[in-house]
């Protein structure tokens, strides 16, 4: 990753560990990626891969303890967020970096009107502002996220709005202080597919108009294909593949990425096929070892994979993967050995 001036966020060797009774859970364990201005980068992976912990670490929203960040830099416009104190962080949060969560119903306070909640976000960062100004800004933000009749809707309580509308409210709240980076953690997972299309379209439009950077956290490869310029695939606290998005789909290099792409249902070539599955399951975060963490589930696994951790290697076109066995032309891990061990999942 080149260190150029238009890099907005540069995460370097971030580690977030949780100290629990069951041992140290290395939920995020040395990941590095960057986001340029106006760019959308996706972090994709399954439950428990550390993608949400990554976003919460960037926002410094984790309780410490039990969480600890033993290493890593989170350079936002050159400033290391990991070193800021809580007061300094408060002026970044919401103002320069905003976040959109998965479930709009739990992200909103049920006892305040949505207008009040959006205005509160503005007042927090503009304590001198007059109430009238905050309210005008609120109505304006609601209009921009496509809420019809926004003067009236601003007086509604969250339960009076549909899921799609609530997510629009959350987006309005994220936008109101004019942030440069938005972290969207599964922003459409709780929504229906037609509403998902509306919200994705809205995010894309806002991103373009305001030259926003977007860190999109999702498990849905379809959403990644729609939105992201670059993609990082996470597995067990590590980024195991990182590339311009189109190339991940054309030439997935890591066996896990290949497995994920193949496990997606749908008709391929007009015939029904048995879905490929990735046997086994993700190890518990307290049991991560310093080797290839995918090795127990990988068809290409050798002794090397069990002993040593592979580094991210560039296979051309900024496409990097961490695997001892993959090749630049893309080795087809799951065809080499047919899948016969799915039972022990």
């Amino acid at each position: 990753m080149s260190q150029s001036s238009d890099v907005l966020l540069d995460v370097q060797d971030l580690r977030t560990h949780f100290y629990t009774d069951a041992g140290i859970a290395r939920a995020v364990d040395g990941i590095s990626f960057d986001i340029k201005r106006g760019e959308c980068v996706a972090l994709v992976g399954e439950s428990g891969c550390g993608k949400s912990v990554t976003s919460l670490s960037i926002m410094r929203l984790l309780a410490m303890p039990p969480a600890r960040m033993p290493s890593g830099k989170i350079l936002f416009k050159g400033r290391d967020l990991a070193r800021l104190n809580e007061n300094e962080m408060c002026s970044v949060r919401g103002k320069e970096i905003a976040m959109i969560f998965q479930e709009p119903q739990s992200a909103l306070n049920p006892v305040f009107t949505v207008g009040d909640q959006i205005a509160e976000a503005f007042m927090t960062h503009h304590p001198q502002a007059k109430a009238k100004e905050a309210w005008d800004k609120t109505i304006e933000a609601m209009r921009q996220v496509g809420i019809p009749d926004s003067e009236r809707r601003a007086l509604d309580y969250p339960h009076q709005l549909s899921g799609g509308m609530k997510q629009r409210i959350c987006i309005a709240m994220a936008l109101i202080c004019g942030p440069e980076l938005i972290i969207a953690d599964e922003p459409t997972t709780a929504l229906d597919v037609t509403i998902q299309a509306q919200i994705l379209e809205l995010l894309r439009k806002l991103q373009k108009e305001r030259h926003l950077s977007l860190l999109l956290i999702t498990h849905d490869l379809g959403v990644v294909a729609e939105m992201a310029e670059r993609t990082c695939v996470m597995y067990a606290g590590k980024i195991i593949e990182q590339s311009p998005t189109a190339d991940v789909f054309r030439r997935p290099l890591h066996p896990y990425t290949q497995g994920l792409l193949r496990a997606r249902p749908g008709i391929v070539g007009g015939t029904k096929h048995r879905l490929s599955v990735i046997p086994g399951m993700v190890p518990a975060a307290t049991r991560f070892e310093d080797n290839c963490r995918f090795n127990p589930r990988c068809p290409l696994c050798t002794q090397e994979c069990k002993d040593k951790e592979p580094a991210l290697v560039d296979y051309g076109d900024h496409h990097r993967a961490a695997c001892w066995h993959t090749k630049a032309e893309g080795i087809d891990a799951w065809r080499v050995e047919p899948i016969a061990k799915e039972q022990h999942a």
Binding site: E46, S47, S162, G163, G164, M165, D192, V193, T194, I195, Q196, A197, Q198, L200, E201, H219, D220, L221, G222, V223, A225, E226, T245, A246, F249, R250, G259, L260, A263, R264, P265, G266, I267, K272, R274, L275, S276, V277, I278, M281, E342, Q343, H344, A345
Partner: protein, 350 residues
């Protein structure tokens, strides 16, 4: 375009209903046939609980499921698909309509008479966390149905059956002594499947059974369901909002919107030749599979109206790109269009 013979109209005799005609197996009697099923929930207000309106969750739905067949039911939240699934199991009492299972009209039976049929019809729920009792062991969970229906013989015999079921769904037989919290989401869904299988059902409603799972686990469960169907000839009503899952698993698909079936067809027809404007919008809203896919997107504005006071006429009219004034007046009938068994509730696309 239309080689349709004008058949079904709203209130005609049940044998001519789309469900009865639209089976791919032609003359075969379906295992389950739902005719004109309606469920309207009363809304009660005030001291005397007077009924002030109805939530029209399911209105005049007719579908059929053949032996060994999977029928997909898709639609957005609130379209009535879950209510339909539960009503046809009589977990919710229907307002009107017939549920003919294996020649018997379940809608007319008393709870007592219904009991033997409960064995034949099971359900798998969406949320593998809330659908298993946390205080019961896996053995108790799976064997409960056997005990209730007096199946499975002695305790020891039942244990063997449970262990066998666990093996079948890909879990270790030793799991019988463990509790649900000791399992991952995918494993719990397997327990839910084993519980449904225990009483040897012929028909299972899968209500968003794979929606809460990660894609690699989802693939395992889909494969398992398809294997079980092949081995045991089970029929599924597969309720889902994820169209690619339905495309993969279902033989036929019904699309619901605000309590009505708006389109019904063989899976291949539906996905290659969607007719109803809502179906088209729904398919176009699915994210593309790869960034290289060329996809023209038609973004549907607005949201489904409330089922409490659905608009008169076609429920999709307020959002429909094709709407004409006549759409407001009367709910269109299901008409056959294109391939046999392809039924569409929209005269504008005929």
């Amino acid at each position: 375009m239309s080689d349709a013979t004008p058949i079904s109209r709203g209130g005609i005799s049940a044998t001519e209903s789309p469900a009865a005609v639209a089976t791919p197996t032609g003359g075969k009697t379906p295992l389950l046939e739902v005719r004109h099923l309606t469920k309207h929930f009363p809304i009660k207000r005030g001291l005397l609980s007077s009924t002030v309106g109805h939530v029209k969750a399911v209105t005049d739905v007719s579908i059929s499921v053949n032996a060994g067949e999977t029928v997909g039911l898709v639609g957005e939240s609130g379209c009535g698909k879950t209510t339909l699934g539960r009503t046809l199991l009589r977990l919710i009492e229907p307002t009107s309509g017939d549920i003919i299972f294996d020649g018997v009209n379940l809608a007319k039976l008393s709870q007592e008479e219904l009991r033997p049929y409960r064995k034949a019809m099971q359900i798998i729920f969406q949320d593998p966390y809330s659908s298993l009792n946390p205080r019961m062991t896996v053995e108790q969970i799976i064997a409960e149905g056997l005990v209730v229906h007096g199946m499975g013989g002695t305790l020891r015999e039942r244990r063997l059956i449970v262990q066998d079921l666990l093996k079948r769904v890909g879990l270790a037989p030793q799991a019988i002594e463990r509790y649900p919290h000791e399992f991952s989401g995918g494993q719990r869904q397997r327990i839910g499947i084993a519980r449904a299988l225990a009483v040897k059902p012929r028909f299972i409603v899968c209500d968003e059974a794979v929606s809460a799972l990660d894609v690699s686990v989802q693939a395992q469960i889909i494969n398992l369901l398809m294997d079980l169907q092949q081995e045991m000839g089970i029929s599924y009503l597969f309720i889902a909002h994820d169209l690619s899952v339905v495309e993969h698993i279902a033989h036929r698909v019904a699309v619901m919107y605000l309590g009505n079936v708006v389109e019904q067809a063989d899976t291949k027809d539906l996905f290659s030749d969607p007719r109803h404007p809502y179906t088209r919008a729904l398919l176009s809203a699915v994210p593309k599979r790869t960034p290289d896919d060329a996809k023209t997107r038609q973004i549907l504005g607005g949201e489904p109206p409330s089922p409490i006071n659905p608009p008169p006429g076609c429920p999709f009219e307020p959002r429909c790109p094709l709407r004409v004034p006549a759409c407001k007046e009367k709910l269109p009938d299901l008409e056959q269009m294109g391939a046999p068994g392809h039924w569409v509730r929209c005269p504008l696309v005929r």
